[in-house]
């Protein structure tokens, strides 16, 4: 009934032999027959150097996700991927084509055109200080993190129109990228090059795009002074307690980010009912009728560089934007109570002052920073 110790060993040996034979009889399965053998990367050094983003007054400390800490090599890899057309289906378009430094990380077009020549519905959003953007990304808030965001354009047919599997394969076979992924994330073979790591690197680069050295910032830090028109514009913007009218800007574009990370119907569309918005914005995501026509209030930092304006680029100049608010917005059942349907009462001089202030939000040291430029040039 009971096996002796000797017999037990014999039994176990036979069992092992049985399974071993069975394994040998099974033909090996290549999980990815089209892929060449994965290369060993373990001989390449992996010494991640953490990067702490400088907290530049008046910006607050940025929340960095614990599963994607910033490193020098991670940011560098993200920068290469951001500017590399390898991500697109025809290898002719990169993330940067819609997010150029000189355009405040927009493309200065009303709406962008993808690799197939298809025009999108919305204007490319600025990525400046996007590490601070919470409560949803894109104009409609459909994505919560920069990592999730970076996944989408690659496979969007009206943007880069590619497949991540295809991108992964090209990156694994690339001369340069395997070593960069190793240095950024410590992977041991090229098998570790995945879309998840690619978007982590891009997100790291995006988090490094911190702009806080505009004239406005310098004034707040006591390093510079506003000119008279800029100061009046500042007072109009933030409704300083004086005789000037309230331009109501700060409610949605408050300092220090110049966005409050929220969604508003700012009265740019005239609709008979909430169902009639051509672009439903947030409502298409939440399926809440009262969210139709609401869009993210963008940051106004570097706003003078990011024309045209609004989610569909309908206004070509800042003057047109201010005229919209000053002349009275279109009423709808969900218009924000702080958007005036009866106008703001700003004079021509007030409007000029306001624009002078908005120009103080331009940070040339940021847009010209070599760390953010195309590494292939």
């Amino acid at each position: 009934m009971f096996l002796s110790v000797k017999n037990t060993y014999l039994y176990l040996f036979l069992l092992c032999l049985f399974f071993s034979c069975k394994k040998n009889n099974t033909p090996p399965v290549n999980p990815n027959p089209t892929t060449t053998e994965f290369k060993d990367l373990s001989t390449i050094s992996y010494n991640p150097i953490p990067v702490e983003l400088p907290v530049i007054s008046p910006l607050p400390p940025m929340d960095i996700p614990s599963d994607n800490p910033l490193t020098e090599d991670g940011i560098a890899l993200g920068r290469f991927l951001f500017y590399d057309p390898i991500l697109s289906g025809n290898e002719k378009m990169a993330c940067a084509d819609c997010h150029l430094p000189k355009g405040g990380f927009t493309d200065n077009l009303a709406v962008s055109t993808g690799v197939d020549g298809i025009t999108g519905l919305r204007s490319s959003m600025s990525l400046i200080n996007s590490g601070y953007f919470t409560k949803g990304l894109f104009w409609d808030g459909r994505i919560q993190t920069l990592e999730e965001q970076a996944l989408l354009p690659v496979e969007d047919v009206i943007e880069l129109h590619n497949e991540w599997e295809n991108v992964e394969e090209k990156l694994r076979a690339h001369n340069d990228y395997p070593a960069r992924f190793r240095k950024a994330f410590g992977i041991n073979t090229t098998e570790g090059i995945t879309k998840e790591l690619a978007v982590k690197a891009i997100a790291q680069f995006e988090r490094s795009l911190v702009s806080a050295n505009s004239k406005y910032d310098q004034v707040i830090r006591g390093e510079a002074f506003f000119e008279d028109d800029e100061l009046t514009g500042f007072e109009l913007f933030f409704d300083e307690p004086n005789e000037l009218p309230d331009a109501e800007c700060g409610h949605c574009h408050n300092a220090p980010l110049f966005t409050v990370n929220q969604y508003f119907n700012n009265g740019i569309d005239s609709v008979a009912s909430l169902e009639d918005f051509k672009d439903k914005g947030l409502g298409a995501i939440t399926n809440n009728l009262f969210d139709n026509g609401k869009f993210r209030a963008p940051s106004l930092r570097n706003i003078a560089l990011t024309a045209p304006y609004m989610h569909d680029g309908r206004f070509e100049t800042l003057e047109e934007v201010i005229d919209h608010y000053n002349e009275g917005a279109h009423f709808a059942d969900n218009i924000d109570p702080l958007i005036m349907t009866k106008g703001l009462g700003l004079s021509a001089q007030h409007k000029k002052d306001l624009i002078a202030f908005l120009h103080t939000l331009t940070d040339t040291s940021f847009v010209n920073n070599p760390a953010y430029q195309n590494p292939f040039e």
């Binding site: 910006l59 607050p60 220090p256 109570p337 349907t341």
Partner: protein, 256 residues
């Protein structure tokens, strides 16, 4: 001999660890859920999509949020601090009937057990914190840049409470000729301390649910019961009505 020494050493260590454990007197704790719900005349308040009656005409609300601070449970042994500062964003939790009946819930997972006879807190941001601004906090902190819309540079103050909406002045349906109102109350002198005398018994391992109801109609009323005249109010001013509204939190916020 060697084994005996090892055995004795190990036994002594175990004994010491055991004695140490017996000397520890862990405080029993309980979980406390506080939910904040907005009502209008006692009825659950739904933002944007539902109209209510105000002085005979339709009114609707689009935004209700406020800060609570220095929240503590009080008994004869003293005060147990629950939270330094919290942002109560009813705007996010009152879009549907179901959500409105749930409200905005704050959870305190380890409150010492016992019987408490008072909850105290302030509506608004206390003066010491109100000297700061969103740049002083991480983005997701209640006073941080995520809520930078709750800081008003011109006042050097957080906005303690926001109540926004529209009032159909002529009763012919909401349109661009009606009143949009935005009561934004801030600055140190509007801080509104509240003490609610209620017996709260927290027992070990159990969860206690407390519900605060904020009646917006009461918030907009004078102590005698008259309602604020929205038509004479500067719809986007930050005037005297704010003093009344902030003081009214004492009457409008009740523990159910």
């Amino acid at each position: 001999m060697k084994n005996i020494i090892i055995f004795l050493t190990f036994s002594s260590l175990l004994l010491a660890a055991s004695c140490g454990k017996e000397n520890t007197n862990p405080i029993d704790t309980a979980k406390l859920n506080l939910s904040f719900r907005a009502t209008y005349g006692g009825e659950a308040l739904i933002l944007e999509q539902k109209n209510y009656t105000y002085k005979g005409n339709p009114i609707r609300f689009t935004r209700i949020n406020f800060y609570v601070s220095d929240m503590a449970a009080v008994n004869n042994d003293g005060e147990t601090e629950l939270a330094e500062i919290q942002f109560i964003n009813l705007t996010e939790t009152h879009k549907t009937q179901v959500d409105a009946e749930q409200g905005t819930v704050m959870t305190f997972s380890k409150v010492p057990v016992g019987t408490y006879n008072q909850l105290k807190f302030g509506v608004g941001v206390p003066a010491d914190l109100n000297k700061t601004n969103p740049s002083d906090y991480s983005t997701s902190h209640p006073l941080g840049a995520d809520n930078s819309g709750e800081y008003w540079e011109a006042w050097d103050s957080y906005i303690f409470a926001k109540i926004e909406g529209q009032f159909d002045t002529d009763g012919n349906g909401f349109d661009g000729n009606d009143i949009s109102f935005a009561y934004h109350a801030g600055r140190d002198n509007l801080y509104s301390p509240i003490k609610l005398d209620n017996s709260i018994n927290l027992t070990a391992g159990n969860t206690t649910e407390l519900v605060f109801e904020l009646d917006i109609k009461t918030l907009f009323s004078f102590p005698q019961g008259d309602l604020i005249d929205l038509e004479s109010h500067n719809p986007n001013g930050h005037g005297a009505e704010n003093f009344l509204i902030m003081d009214n939190f004492k009457r409008a916020l009740q523990l159910k």
